[in-house]
């Protein structure tokens, strides 16, 4: 239970239209107050446990995503928030969109919606908590994602 009580999140905005972002931020504000679960929106990946990704991946932010992911110490959980982050959403066909977050890094839980309600995001965080706990018990490490300049993922 040592992890589940203090999930610190880092919010990574990839290709999001802001709709999901503002709902993520809304989770932290008084009405939803995610800090009740110990959630803190921490600025640096070095201190984060849960990576909250909004928006799909494009060719410019793919390395940013990988970098941030690699810089989160284990155990860590990735939460894809919104249709874009889950599958590419409405933009999945755009020329500069690679796809959902899971094309690049392993995702542990998805939150549907465009954009999802804060309640849904809180659900996602709560789901992430138990995954986090089991990861820490099983000593499951996130794998280092290779970063090669501006490389294109093969499965895109």
């Amino acid at each position: 239970m040592s992890l589940a009580k203090s999930p610190w999140i880092i919010h990574v905005n990839c290709n999001s239209c802001n709709g999901c972002d503002i709902e993520v931020v809304a989770c932290l504000t008084p009405l939803y107050d995610a800090e009740r679960f110990g959630v803190l929106n921490i600025g640096t990946p070095k201190q984060a446990d849960i990576m909250v990704v909004t928006g799909s991946i494009n060719y410019k932010n793919v390395n940013v995503l990988k970098n941030i992911y690699n810089q989160i110490p284990d155990p860590k959980v990735v939460l894809a928030v919104g249709a874009c982050a889950s599958t590419g959403g409405i933009f999945h066909d755009c020329y500069n969109v690679i796809g959902g977050v899971d094309q690049i890094i392993p995702v542990d839980a998805y939150v549907p919606g465009c954009c999802p309600r804060p309640e849904a995001i809180l659900d996602g965080v709560v789901a992430a908590l138990s995954i986090l706990e089991s990861k820490s018990q099983g000593k499951i490490k996130g794998k280092e994602v290779k970063l090669k300049g501006n490389e294109v993922p093969s499965n895109a």
Binding site: N58, Y59, K60, Y95, N96, G149, N150, E151
Partner: protein, 116 residues
């Protein structure tokens, strides 16, 4: 031809464009934006200026292979849209205030000139 096209003054060449834009600036026009369309292998530019909620449009045809002149020397704010068209249409503007060299939005590995 299309119905209800927007009104626009035709511009013949780059020098005239710069002169007209300079004149518009002196007349107190604000640079709104510029639109780029593919037309006859070349590109059609529509420059949009605004004064007192009235639009003033310039239409300028860029021949294939021609390097259009940048107006960012006159209106600095034009640099963003011109850089955007360098990315999206693979154009090369002459005299850009800050030249992102086709990397304003796109990286070396993303699709090249997707709107071209």
């Amino acid at each position: 031809m299309l119905e209800n096209t927007i009104e626009a003054t035709e511009i013949k060449n780059g020098a005239e464009l710069l002169k007209t834009v300079e004149g518009l600036k002196n007349d107190g026009y604000r640079y709104a934006t510029m639109i780029c369309l593919k037309a006859n292998d070349g590109h059609d530019f529509i420059y949009i200026f605004d004064k007192d909620y009235k639009l003033k449009n310039l239409r300028y045809f860029v021949k294939p292979g021609e390097k259009p002149k940048s107006v960012s020397g006159i209106y600095l704010c034009a640099l963003l849209i011109e850089n955007e068209y360098q990315d999206l249409f693979g154009l090369t503007f002459e005299g850009l205030a800050i030249d992102f060299k086709g990397h304003l939005y796109l990286t070396p590995n993303s699709p090249k000139a997707p709107l071209a």
